[in-house]
C-alpha cells in the first residue's frame, strides 16, 4: 500500500502544483504552493489579505480556494467501501493523498471524517464499523504528514444513510467516509 501511495504522491503533487491558490490563504503553507504554481500567487501580496481578486477559471487552472476546485481530487469528498470492509480501496488512495497534501499544507485546516455503514447488521456494531472506516482514512492521512489535531473522527453507523433504497447500489452509497471541511 505504501508503494501505491508514494507513486500516487507524485501524481497528486504535480496536480496540486497546477492548482493556484489566491483566495483566503492565511498560511504560509498555502502561499508556498501558490508560489510554485502558475504565478497567480502574486495576488497574495502581504499576509494574504482578505480582499483577493477572484479570477475566472481558465481551462485546467484554478485561482480559487483549492477546496472549491471542481477539477481537483479535493473535490472528491466521499470515499466508498466494500461490504463489511474498512480497508480503503486502492482507487481512493490518490484522493486521500490529495486531501493529506492539502491538510499538510494548511495546518490550520481541520477535516471531519464521518464514517458510515449500510443498513445491514446491528446498529451499534455498525457504529464501530463506521469508525473503523474513518480511522482507516485517518491513518493514511497521518502517514502523509497530516497532524492528529487536524482530523476529527465521528461515526454515524447506519443512522445517516445518503441513499434510502434497499438496493445493492443504495447500500454501496451508504458504506462511506465523508470528508467535511
Amino acid at each position: 500500500m505504501k508503494k501505491v501511495l508514494s507513486l500516487s504522491a507524485t501524481i497528486t503533487l504535480s496536480l496540486l502544483l497546477m492548482i493556484g491558490c489566491s483566495s483566503t490563504p492565511t498560511t504560509e503553507g498555502g502561499a508556498e504552493v501558490s508560489e510554485q504554481s502558475t504565478g497567480a500567487g502574486s495576488e497574495m501580496g502581504a499576509e494574504g489579505s482578505e480582499a483577493s481578486t477572484s479570477a475566472a477559471s481558465q481551462g485546467e487552472e484554478w485561482y480559487g480556494d483549492p477546496l472549491e476546485n471542481p477539477n481537483s481530487l479535493l473535490a472528491t469528498r466521499v470515499i466508498y467501501f466494500d461490504y463489511d470492509q474498512s480497508v480503503v480501496r486502492s482507487d481512493y488512495l490518490e484522493v486521500i493523498q490529495a486531501h493529506a497534501d492539502y491538510l499538510a499544507a494548511n495546518p490550520q485546516a481541520v477535516v471531519r471524517l464521518e464514517g458510515h455503514a449500510d443498513e445491514r447488521g446491528t446498529r451499534e456494531y455498525n457504529l464501530g464499523l463506521g469508525e473503523n472506516r474513518a480511522n482507516s482514512v485517518r491513518s493514511l492521512m497521518m502517514a502523509q504528514g497530516v497532524a492528529d489535531n487536524q482530523m476529527v473522527v465521528v461515526s454515524y453507523g447506519e443512522e445517516r444513510p445518503s441513499a434510502f433504497d434497499n438496493t445493492d447500489e443504495a447500500m454501496a452509497l451508504n458504506r462511506r467516509v465523508e470528508l467535511v471541511y
Binding site: 446491528t122 451499534e124 456494531y125 464501530g128 434497499n166
Partner: protein, 430 residues
C-alpha cells in the same frame, strides 16, 4: 400452524385523538390456544366510560397468542356477573374460561371496576377483583385485569401493563430528519415522545426500575450517552468521550451502565458506576467490542466482537478477564441479551443472507431462528420472557414486530407513517 392475520385495532380509529399510534397485527397464531370469552362489561350509574375495558382485555389476551378469544357476535348473552351466567351456553361455544365484569361510576371521573374470571366447565369462579380507578387510568386497569387473567390461567405473570421504548424517524420536506425517542404502552397506545432531535438517537434502554431510559444522542455532532427520567423529563449526560459513546445497558441493580467507548482508539466495553462516576474497562482488544448486556444475576456480560474475524457473541465476567465465545452457528451474530430467567440469549443472526432474530439455549448451545424478515434487529425480551419484540422492515419502512419465544406466534406493530425501530421492552412496574 394457522394463519390468522387479524387487524385487531380497528377500534383504535375511535380513539384517534392520539398521534402516530402503533397498530398491531397478529400475523400468525397458535393452534391449541386457550378459548376464552371476555363479555362486554356492564355499566352502572350512567355516563359510559371512554374505554371499552372488555375490548382492551380481549386484545391483550389475543395478542399474547396463548388465547383464542370469542367474537362478541357469537355470544348468546352478555352476563355482567357470575349470577347471570348460563354455563351450558358457553360450553356449547367451546369456551373454557369466561370473563365478566362491570364498571360503576363513583363520582366525577372515578370508577369502581369489578370482574370475575370463571371456569366454564366447573361453573366456578377462579378469581375476582374490585379495582378503583379513574377515567384516565381505565386502559391501565384493563391491562392489569389481563395480567391477572394471564397469570391465573398460565402460571406466569402477564406483561400487558408494561411499556415499550422505541425510536422513530420522519423525513421532513426539507430533506432533514426528525428523530424521536418514544414510550408507549405495550399495546402501542398512549405513545409519548420524550426526546426529539434532528441528529440521530439510538439504543434506548430502560432502567431496571422502569423510571429511567439510557440512550445515545448525536446532538452537537458527537455521540454521547444520556440517562433521562421517563416521568420527569430530566436528563444527565453520562459519557461524551472522543469517539463512540454507545450501547448503554443497565446492571440488574440499576447502579451501573455497561457501554461502548472508543476513547482508547477502538470500541471496547466499559462499566460506568452511576454513583461514583468511575469507569472500569472490561475488554481490551483491537477489534470492535460492543453491544454489552448483563446477565440477570449481574455477574457477567455478553457482547459482540469481531475479534475472530466476523461478529460473534462473547461472554465475560463483569469484573473483566478472558472472554469466552458463545455463538458458533452462523457467520454473523450480534446484539445479544438475556431472557429474564437467564437461560436464553436472543440476538441477531445472519441466516442465508438475511438478518434475523434467534434464541440460543445457554446450556445446550442450541440456536433457533425465530423471525423471517430480511433486516430484523434489536431483539428485546418481554419481562415475563414470553415474547421478543424487535425491529423489522416492511418494504423500506421500519416496523416493530414481536414473536413468542417458542417462535409460534408472530405479530407486527406498525406506525401509520414514518419509520419505527429499536424497541426496548420495559421491566415490570415496581
Amino acid at each position: 400452524m394457522k394463519k390468522i392475520v387479524l387487524m385487531l385495532l380497528v377500534f383504535l380509529a375511535c380513539h384517534s385523538v392520539v398521534k402516530a399510534e402503533l397498530t398491531i397485527e397478529i400475523t400468525e397464531g397458535v393452534e391449541g390456544a386457550l378459548p376464552i370469552a371476555v363479555v362486554p362489561f356492564g355499566m352502572q350509574g350512567g355516563g359510559l366510560p371512554a374505554v371499552d375495558l372488555a375490548e382492551v382485555i380481549n386484545a391483550d389476551l389475543q395478542r399474547s397468542g396463548r388465547f383464542k378469544t370469542i367474537p362478541r357476535a357469537d355470544m348468546l348473552s352478555r352476563p355482567t356477573s357470575d349470577r347471570e351466567v348460563e354455563f351450558k351456553d358457553w360450553r356449547a361455544l367451546g369456551v373454557e374460561n369466561l370473563v365478566v365484569g362491570q364498571v360503576e361510576s363513583t363520582g366525577a371521573g372515578t370508577y369502581q371496576v369489578q370482574f370475575q374470571l370463571l371456569d366454564v366447565y366447573r361453573g366456578q369462579q377462579l378469581t375476582g377483583y374490585s379495582i378503583p380507578t379513574t377515567a384516565s387510568n381505565l386502559r391501565s386497569t384493563a391491562h392489569r385485569i389481563a395480567d391477572i387473567i394471564y397469570e391465573n390461567l398460565l402460571g406466569i405473570p402477564g406483561a400487558f401493563s408494561t411499556r415499550v421504548a422505541y425510536i422513530t424517524s420522519t423525513r421532513l420536506a426539507d430533506g432533514k430528519s426528525r428523530i424521536g425517542l418514544n414510550v408507549a404502552d405495550a399495546d402501542g397506545h398512549n405513545p409519548e415522545t420524550i426526546v426529539t432531535s434532528s441528529e440521530p438517537l439510538m439504543s434506548p434502554a430502560w432502567s431496571p426500575d422502569g423510571m429511567k431510559i439510557a440512550y445515545v444522542s448525536f446532538e452537537g455532532g458527537q455521540s454521547a450517552v444520556y440517562v433521562q427520567g421517563v416521568y420527569t423529563g430530566k436528563r444527565q449526560k453520562v459519557t461524551s468521550f472522543k469517539g463512540i459513546n454507545g450501547a448503554p445497558s443497565w446492571s440488574p441493580d440499576g447502579r451501573k451502565l455497561a457501554l461502548t467507548l472508543s476513547k482508547g482508539g477502538n470500541p471496547d466495553i466499559y462499566i460506568y458506576d452511576m454513583r461514583s462516576r468511575k469507569l472500569q474497562q472490561i475488554t481490551r482488544h483491537y477489534s470492535i467490542d460492543t453491544e454489552p448486556a448483563w446477565s440477570p444475576d449481574g455477574k457477567s456480560l455478553v457482547f459482540t466482537s469481531d475479534r475472530g474475524g466476523r461478529p460473534q457473541i462473547y461472554r465475560v465476567s463483569a469484573f473483566g478477564g478472558k472472554a469466552q465465545r458463545v455463538t458458533f452457528e452462523n457467520s454473523y451474530n450480534a446484539r445479544a441479551s438475556f431472557s429474564p430467567d437467564g437461560k436464553l440469549l436472543t440476538f441477531v443472526t445472519q441466516d442465508e443472507g438475511n438478518y434475523r432474530i434467534a434464541v440460543q439455549d445457554l446450556k445446550t448451545g442450541v440456536m433457533q431462528v425465530l423471525s423471517q424478515g430480511r433486516l430484523d434487529e434489536s431483539p428485546s425480551f418481554a419481562p415475563n420472557g414470553s415474547m421478543i419484540i424487535y425491529g423489522a422492515k416492511a418494504g423500506r419502512r421500519g416496523v416493530l414486530a414481536a414473536v413468542s419465544t417458542d417462535g409460534r406466534v408472530r405479530q407486527r406493530l406498525a406506525l401509520q407513517e414514518g419509520d419505527v425501530r429499536e424497541p426496548d421492552w420495559s421491566p415490570f412496574k415496581k
